[in-house]
């Protein structure tokens, strides 16, 4: 159906795609996997007409095609849904759904028909309610569903899905898979990009693996063992992967029974937290577990001074921290925000400048910054975190998600904090970078840092944390220590809390 043959694309300093071929048959769900920076996004942009390839060609239904713009690709029947919802939040749900192909009557947009059809269509995706509301008022998952509905509504021949499930609830993921099955039945080809291996094995027929801009494997999904897939992606032996495990956390760090480096007591904030206690000793990784909305992110934000507290105290190394982000930073609390785009990196600045941003005051003498010392620090962290960039002067906005996250982490570490707050540090980054970030967290704790780790990934949480504090509705419902820190134990604690809730 859709073929890319020996496609190459070079950006200044980076060979993003090197003779990559991809062939999607009608009715096939084709997985496209690879680490961040492997070239998946570039390949997708070539397929959808955002970029033009430097070499190679595209064929649609056997005929050679060239797309100068995304419109041309869409008109040819290639629809795309992106990882980040690419719709217009201020426009109504219905207008977003129909933008560019609204139903007409006497040349004008027929709003009545448009709203009616939109409501009918979206009901099939589990979205009810007024379609005249601004799209931005919907939850992120629902917005993604609208994007999906939009992509499918056109007479698509190929649908490209770039991490469609990253913002979906489990129920919505099921709806998505239902839609994918429908599309498959209609003979539509699907390119499916995801980091979630379970999903890939569940719905994909074929897989193409990219690494460093090259195709390293292509074949039926079920014939590729999971371990081998991971090994292909990160470019290591199967044996190494087996011995090191999929997450980069090593076993059990020894925590001395010392005084806590971070002690938060009785954190209360209206509607969000109802008395949360967390204590972290030096060298300890404390996980915050619980379901979405249980108060994990709020707890971290409260400790970082970003959430106004009604009651409660935060102490670092025995000293109280006044509730502001400035005071928290001064006391040695470094927080990795959940949303790195909105709250973290400065995309237009270089890797070097982004890393140095937080330490500038400390590296200057009489207001003059020592360039040499900055270079030292930047080089050290770029090597240590294995940041993949053309050089320290490449703008961070050009890096892949995982590398952006590493830059952000480097900036935090450069301030030599006492406490590190990590909210979903591996969200949206690939297996390889994930393992690196995880082993780094381990290493940092080993050096005496106190770490608070929030993760929706149960495996990551139990392997990474020495202790897990389980939250529900803004209160601590359980604490797992020692041998109890297992995925089953965590799920058990969450489930038990839910049952108690029901009994009440």
């Amino acid at each position: 159906m859709l073929e890319a043959i020996d496609v190459s694309k070079t950006f200044p300093g980076v060979r993003a795609l090197d003779s990559v071929s991809l062939s999607v048959r009608p009715g096939e769900v084709h997985a496209l996997v690879g680490e961040n920076g492997a070239g998946k996004s570039t390949l997708i942009k070539v397929l959808t007409g955002v970029y033009r390839p430097d070499a190679g060609e595209l064929r649609l239904a056997g005929e050679r095609v060239r797309f100068a713009t995304p419109q041309e690709a869409q008109r040819a029947g290639i629809s795309t849904i992106y990882q980040e919802v690419n719709l217009v939040p201020l426009m109504s749900v219905a207008r977003n759904l129909f933008l560019g192909r609204e139903p007409r009557r006497r040349g004008l947009i027929d709003t009545v028909t448009m709203n009616r059809v939109a409501a009918e269509t979206l009901r099939g995706y589990g979205i009810t309610g007024d379609v005249r509301r601004p799209l931005g008022q919907l939850a992120l998952g629902a917005q993604q569903m609208v994007a999906l509905a939009r992509a499918v509504m056109v007479d698509a021949r190929v649908v490209i899905m770039d991490e469609p499930t990253s913002s979906l609830e489990p129920r919505e993921v099921e709806t998505l898979f239902g839609v994918i099955d429908d599309l498959r039945g209609k003979g539509i080809g699907i390119v499916y990009v995801s980091h979630r291996l379970d999903e890939l094995y569940r719905i994909c027929d074929h897989v193409t693996v990219l690494r460093d801009g090259r195709r390293v494997h292509s074949g039926p999904m079920q014939e590729l063992p999971r371990l081998k897939l991971v090994a292909l992606m990160i470019g290591r032996d199967v044996e190494t992967v087996r011995s090191e495990g999929v997450t980069g956390f090593s076993e059990e760090s020894q925590v001395a029974d010392s005084t806590p480096v971070l002690k938060a007591t009785g954190l209360r904030s209206r509607h969000k937290l109802h008395g949360v206690d967390v204590a972290v000793r030096p060298g300890e990784v404390v996980g915050l577990g619980g379901l979405l909305g249980a108060g994990r992110t709020e707890t971290v934000r409260a400790i970082a001074g970003a959430l106004p507290l009604d009651e409660g105290t935060v102490e670092v190394a025995g000293r109280p921290v006044r509730g502001s982000t400035g005071a928290a930073v001064k006391a040695g609390i470094a927080a990795l925000p959940e949303d790195r785009k909105a709250e973290g990196i400065v995309p237009g600045l270089s890797v070097r400048e982004n890393i140095a941003l937080a330490v500038l005051p400390r590296m200057s003498r009489a207001g003059i910054v020592s360039e040499k010392r900055i270079d030292e620090i930047v080089t050290r962290f770029m090597e240590r975190l294995r940041i993949k960039a053309a050089g320290p002067d490449q703008p961070v906005g050009e890096l892949s998600g995982g590398n952006q996250q590493k830059v952000l982490l480097a900036r935090l570490l450069a301030t030599s904090p006492k406490v590190l707050l990590l909210d979903e540090p591996t969200r949206g980054i690939d297996v390889g970078a994930k393992a690196e970030v995880q082993s780094l967290v381990d290493e940092l704790a080993g050096q005496g840092l106190g770490v608070v780790l929030v993760s929706s990934d149960a495996e990551e949480l139990v392997e990474g944390a020495d202790r897990v504090v389980v939250l529900r509705d803004g209160t601590v419902v359980a604490e797992l220590t020692g041998d109890a820190v297992t995925a089953d134990g965590l799920l058990g604690a969450i489930a038990a809390a839910a049952e108690k809730e029901v009994e009440k």
Binding site: N86, L90, L99, E102
Partner: protein
Amino acid sequence: MKLSVEGVQKHGALAVLALVTLVGLLAFPGFRTVDNAGTLLVNAAPLGLIALGMTFVILTGGIDLSVGSVFVLGGVVAAWASQYGFVAALVVPLLVGAAVGLVNGVLVARTNMAPFIVTLATLLGARGLMRAVSTEGSTTYLVESQPFKTLGNGDLLGVKWPVWIAAVLFVAGSVVLNRTGFGQAVYAVGGNTDAARLMGVPVAATQIRVYALSGLLAGFAGALNAARLGSGVTVLGIGTELDAIAAVVIGGTLLTGGAGALSGTIAGVLLLGVIQNLINQVGDVPTAYQQVVSGAFLAVVVVAQTSLTRLRSVAPV
């Protein structure tokens, strides 16, 4: 509670306009005459046309600073062209305005320059052109065409032509925004340019068209004004772009683009007109102080609007 707050915010300019008008009606006998209402409307018509075009531009997330210069240039070339008859007097300023707007649009869409800078450049350029046409302002062209004068001063059912024209164009503009693909593209480009591009909206073409439209309307406003005054006055139009922007923003259109409506812009234009009219009613306020009062009033209105918006954003969802 939430509904009413939202309603007030959306129609905030209208509410303030009603309030101010009511005060005017009660306090000033001179304000509540039919004549005065007619004068107010006909004075507001040119700014209305400019603000109409500005609404399109701001909805795409842009800004057009050149409209004041284009307005005065349009008036001068209309008066000059009126010696060749009615059609020339009408068409030449439209072409000139559209040409300047086209330059703006092409530069904004194709060179990735900031609209602020691009239209600042054409502001200066258009003003220079105007001075060239009027030989440094020393030549004042009188309107020769009688039908053209009628366009500015005649009336239908007691309402002056410029007011009718503005009203019809606002209705047409509203239909374009809400019921055509171009209108949807305007909102989409302003709401999220990247998304619009990925969704297949012709971003560059939309930008070019809104700036061309804005220039065209500013030229037309200049022509109507010249028709009414009977000559191409060269000292007008300084700061007019700011009045237009103020009217649009008071009308509830987001300065960042993507949301707003022409109904708000009408209310904004009329509000500015009523404020000016009321200050005139007070009588012997020196012009300098009139501006101070006008500015202060504007600040109050904007603060009121902003706090209403904030109210809405904290209202329970």
